[in-house]
Amino acid sequence: MSELSSDARDLIGQARKQRSELLGPSVEQRAQLRERLAPLWAADVMQPRAARSLRWKLGSSAIVAGLGVLGWLYMQSSGEPVVSLPLSAAGVAQSAEADQRSLAAHEQGLRATSADHVAAGLTSNGIAALSESARGAEPCAPGSVLRAGVCAQIAAAAPSASARGAEPCAHGFALRAGVCTQIGAPPPAGTVAAPGQPLAAAAVHKAKRMVASEAKIASQLKAAVRAAVPARQASSKAANASQEPEAQDPLAGLELGGDGTARSVQPARKATTERLPLKAAEERTPVRAVQTDADPGPPSIDGELELLGAAQTALQKQRPSRALTLLQEHAFRFPTGAMVEERMAMQALALCALQRRHAAQTVLSNLEARGSQSQLLPRVRSQCGL
């Protein structure tokens, strides 16, 4: 990536620093433009998109209703229907299908021989077939379809007269609790799942396992965040402190294996403090320049560190192509950055890992041509075998 001359860099740097004041609109210009656009916005505010959408839906409904009325009038006059209402027909069909699914579930689930075992007889297949509305139904609600179905099944299947006369809400809390558990509704207060309800017990056990699993994942995430935050702060501090060259060297702990691929030889103590933020940085792709219009701020080394750290992680994970992409982005964003030599050394390492030794040699030659006195050069040469 070619670099701008120092003169051009100064000019661009000045423009960046003062872009809001110099290149943007003045306060008066902003106000004038706002005044000119205000009438348009007033229309937009009065009719936000949600309202426009609702108006469109109401309009569509009115048209359908009008067609329905016309069809009804025509039917009244001619004696036979000639206008079909697809929306209404679809709705009726959907509703009928849902009812059929509910009834099938009841029939499949309520195959117990006595009223006390009806709840246990509700199979998981039957519950799965219940529609969303039926799943939240209350079996004791007056007029409920579920209640009617349960009563009918009890009357049909109960062997004895007493059981036949049972009613789900009057026959004790055990039955009601079982039904509620199976359909996903909250059980009535003071009840427990009746013994002999294997499905309910299995469901409770499964739910407990899910909760335990989620709690474990949550604790792992919290631990990772706790470890990452101080590590990132430590990494930023290390980057800002020039007296700590080891922390600034993104190549620290890297060496090439016999097959030309990079592997990490970092000690375990460093790995615990540096790998987490680097991994997090690598997974944020594509890396975007974080900035605001109001405060562009001075160029920071953090962005460079983030990209080079992600590239280093990619090298450690034996993904040299990914590392090269990140290093190219670094060259694009920071052509004259503070860590150009480190970038070039890592490029050479990545190219070596890809068996592109000629290209790696070229990069190293360019690094030498810069008059670099860096310790990186002999290290990279020895690791690459160049």
């Binding site: 701008l4 661009i12 423009a15 809001s20 706002r34 656009l37 594509p286 320049a289 219009d293």
Partner: protein, 194 residues
């Protein structure tokens, strides 16, 4: 879903809208958050000072018309730059046809132009910047503005300009070379006249 204030103040919501928030964005919020960016972009892409407010107004008319299409899957600045770029190109084509462009690059480049503001070094820098940008081709100018002035990343520029990432890098390289060459020519002219 996070609620967005109805008062037209610059909010973070309008700066970085998620897909959920994008459906709640209003054009006045976008204006407050991004008018500077659009103004700068239009100016850097070649719109003259005398026409800049008309062009920015046109951009926001388009934004208002098309805001419902923005789903928040990309950065809103990328989306806004795409609109600005098309409006600016149409404006420049119209200007070329009507030949009403009275302001020239030479006027901007001349630090001794009859303008009280030109006494300020910073304004001179801005004028010089625009003059040098005028010397770049439109394609190079766009990538240069986004990469150097707006400091956008390569992938973001590729998305804004609908280009391959490798093309973005290649264009930025050429744009930097062209900008440097234009600056050197300008310095040489300055040295001759001094």
């Amino acid at each position: 879903m996070r609620s967005i204030s109805l008062v037209g103040t610059p909010t973070e919501d309008a700066r970085a809208a998620t897909p959920a928030q994008a459906s709640e964005l209003r054009v006045d919020q976008v204006y407050e958050a991004h008018v500077d960016f659009i103004w700068r972009s239009a100016r850097s892409l070649g719109v003259r000072e005398m026409n800049i407010d008309d062009v920015v107004q046109e951009v926001f008319v388009v934004v208002q018309r098309r805001l419902a299409e923005f789903e928040g899957r990309s950065d809103i600045k990328t989306w806004l730059f795409g609109i600005t770029r098309r409006v600016v190109r149409a404006h420049i084509r119209q200007q070329i046809r009507s030949r009403t462009q009275t302001e020239t690059s030479a006027d901007l480049a001349d630090p001794n132009a009859a303008c009280a503001e030109s006494q300020l070094a910073s304004l001179e820098g801005a004028r010089l910047l625009y003059a040098l940008l005028d010397e770049l081709d439109a394609d190079l100018r766009e990538v240069f503005v986004l990469s150097e002035l707006e400091e956008m990343s390569g992938p973001a520029i590729a998305e804004a300009l609908d280009l391959e990432l490798s093309n973005v890098y290649a264009r930025v390289r050429r744009a930097r070379l062209a900008f440097d060459a234009a600056l050197k020519r300008h310095r040489a002219r300055q040295a001759r006249t001094a």
